[in-house]
């Protein structure tokens, strides 16, 4: 005990100080083994959970890279589709995907944000109508993509709207598919804007629209963009609804929004992967990498936008 702080005291005081010190040390020392073990087990489980998610993704990427690597070149971006693997590229599919997603974003953002604004700012919260809309939107977010494909085919390409199997019809179908996601994310973002900001604005004599336009929406932009990023990622990888109506398997002419005969990246990858020739299947793996690259570029742009508007309260 020499050198401890209790050396300053003499006699009984010294014993007392040493006792107090021991009691404190005991209270601060390690907890019993069982609790420590549980703590470690739980941590191991959490690491495991992250590991499973990462391993799946890494395995997919590595596999695509190894298989697609021999075909990977910049020509893939510019060459049209072809049955001859050496000349084949993804030009039409890339353009088709960009058109599809671009048009989809143009449609889904105003409609999704508008619906979210209605539900958060105008609709009577907790009213029966609002609750009904809410439940419906949540359910719609879980509807399989193929169902939207059937809807698009029956109502947009044919049926009442009868646009034909043009690219815009595919874009509208994708917009319907991701609309619930965008609405839910936008609602969360709008709700996260503190009420004090609205009060401050209204107390200055701003109208409700001025308050929403100049205070609530700018503050909610980062959250809304997060929803848009999610929806773009989902729509870009979606082949099923497009296969159902419209997307052609081999296209050699550049797509136009209002014309038939277009394709998209996932559709072309799907087609190539089902071919017998091994070279074409290599091409499919290269297509996956290109799709990831396109996705990365689109998401980076959205994340850059989001960070520009990011705001801490």
């Amino acid at each position: 005990m020499s050198g401890g702080p209790e050396d300053r005291y003499a006699g009984p005081a010294r014993v007392g100080a040493a006792g107090a010190r021991a009691a404190t040390e005991a209270a601060l020392s390690r907890q019993p083994g069982g609790i420590v073990l549980k703590n470690r087990l739980f941590r191991a489980f959490l690491y495991g959970a992250v590991g499973v998610a990462l391993v799946g993704l890494v395995a997919l990427l590595v596999d695509a890279f190894i298989k697609g690597q021999p075909r990977l070149s910049f020509d893939l971006f510019t060459n049209p589709a072809s049955q001859i693997a050496d000349n084949a590229g993804f030009r039409q599919a890339i353009l088709g995907s960009i058109y599809l997603i671009g048009l989809m974003v143009l449609m889904v953002v105003p409609v999704g944000v508008g619906a979210a604004l209605y539900m958060e700012e105008y609709g009577k919260r907790g009213s029966r109508l609002n609750r009904l809309i809410e439940i419906n939107i949540q359910n719609l977010a879980a509807v399989p993509a193929i169902v939207y494909g059937i809807l698009g085919l029956a109502f947009i390409a044919r049926g009442p709207i009868d646009m034909g199997k043009i690219l815009l019809a595919g874009s509208i179908t994708l917009a319907l598919l991701v609309l619930p996601t965008v609405i839910i994310a936008a609602r969360e973002a709008i709700r996260a804007v503190p009420p004090s900001i609205r009060e401050g604005s209204l107390a200055l004599g701003a109208t409700q629209w001025q308050t929403i336009r100049h205070q609530v929406l700018p503050a909610a932009v980062p959250g809304i963009l997060t929803g848009v990023i999610l929806s773009v990622s989902r729509a870009l990888g979606e082949a099923a609804p497009l296969l159902l109506f419209g997307a052609a398997l081999f296209v050699t002419a550049d797509p136009q929004p209002l014309e038939v005969g277009w394709t998209a990246l996932p559709v072309q990858i799907y087609t190539l992967a089902a071919q017998a020739q091994p070279e074409l299947r290599e091409l499919a793996a290269a297509g996956i990498i290109i799709m990831l690259a396109v996705l990365l570029v689109m998401n980076s742009f959205a994340i850059w936008l989001r960070n520009r508007y990011e705001q801490k309260w």
Partner: protein, 298 residues
């Protein structure tokens, strides 16, 4: 003058005060300035005002007058409806869908809750500063410019911003960083920014709902100095739970208490006494006021 009905209000005192001078009765010097405030034009005339949220009474039968270029303080324990009352004065309570307002609330003689009154216009004339500083997540400049811009102001915005910041005693501290985000300011500066924002709209009255409760004593002192300064130009109503603050800054003080039903299930706020601040704090007419201001209860 001192031996009055305990339920005395400003309005009735005004009536009894004037003839007292006329017949030459001696008015003690400490009470002379009070009639001065009461003689000023009335900004708000509140008569039997009751507010309820979803059929639950929040404040009951409030009657008081607010006079021009004076500071009127509302004090009382928590839950007595001070904030509810002040939020009626610029119709911020309209934002609560279940709120219901009964009674009469005149603003320069005009019924604020009249059918032709637009709450948005009301809030342009009657500004409000909140308990927690709530600057917009924008630059200092944009915080001030937002109000005038929504009103369609087309003149020199730089000048307007500078004027508002000067009036809120903030100009010297921020003139070199007008483009910085307002969230980088200290709490006290943020609150003065909110006051500046309010002034930029050029209101007639400023309502303050516990403006210093989130601030340190030095920032509080600055805001109190500012309030004293601002009353030259504006009429101010301030809610505070800090009695010293009410005593320091206000000309008139209303004391509210919480009333309970016998079964203690319902509670609402009622006004006990409304009088000259000096009288409320030195010689209150009601025992309950005395107990509260001397710290025996509450």
């Amino acid at each position: 003058m001192t031996e009055q009905d305990p339920r005395t209000t400003g309005a009735s005192r005004d009536a009894t005060g004037a003839p007292a001078d006329a017949i030459g009765l001696e008015v003690r010097p400490e009470f002379q300035h009070q009639s001065d405030v009461l003689k000023r034009e009335k900004v708000f005339e509140i008569k039997d005002l009751s507010v309820s949220y979803a059929d639950k009474l929040a404040v009951k039968d409030i009657s008081l007058d607010v006079h021009k270029n004076s500071v009127t303080a509302l004090i009382g324990p928590s839950g007595c409806g001070k904030s509810t009352l002040i939020r009626c004065l610029n119709r911020m309570n309209d934002l609560v869908p279940s709120a219901r307002v009964d009674g009469q609330l005149l603003y320069h003689g005009e019924d604020l809750y009249g059918p032709k009154v637009d709450p948005v216009q009301v809030r342009k004339l009657i500004g409000m500063v909140f308990q927690k500083p709530n600057p917009f997540p924008k630059s200092i400049y944009e915080n001030i410019a937002f109000g005038p811009r929504t009103l369609g102001y087309k003149g020199d915005m730089d000048e307007r911003v500078e004027k508002a910041l000067r009036a809120a005693a903030l100009w010297d501290e921020v003139k070199d960083r007008l483009d910085d985000n307002a969230y980088g300011m200290s709490g006290g500066q943020q609150q003065r920014l909110c006051i500046a924002r309010c002034i930029a709209v050029e209101p007639d009255t400023i309502l303050m709902d516990e403006p210093c409760s989130a601030l340190d004593p030095i920032s509080t002192g600055k805001i109190e100095d500012l309030i004293t300064e601002l009353k030259q130009k504006y009429s101010i109503v301030i809610v505070t739970h800090n009695m010293q603050q009410a005593a320091r800054v206000s000309d008139m003080t209303a004391f509210l208490i919480v009333e309970l039903t016998a079964d203690e299930k319902n509670r609402w706020g009622e006004i006990v006494e409304y009088d000259d601040t000096e009288k409320i704090f030195t010689n209150p007419a009601d025992k309950r006021t005395e107990d509260y201001v001397t710290g025996k209860v509450g």
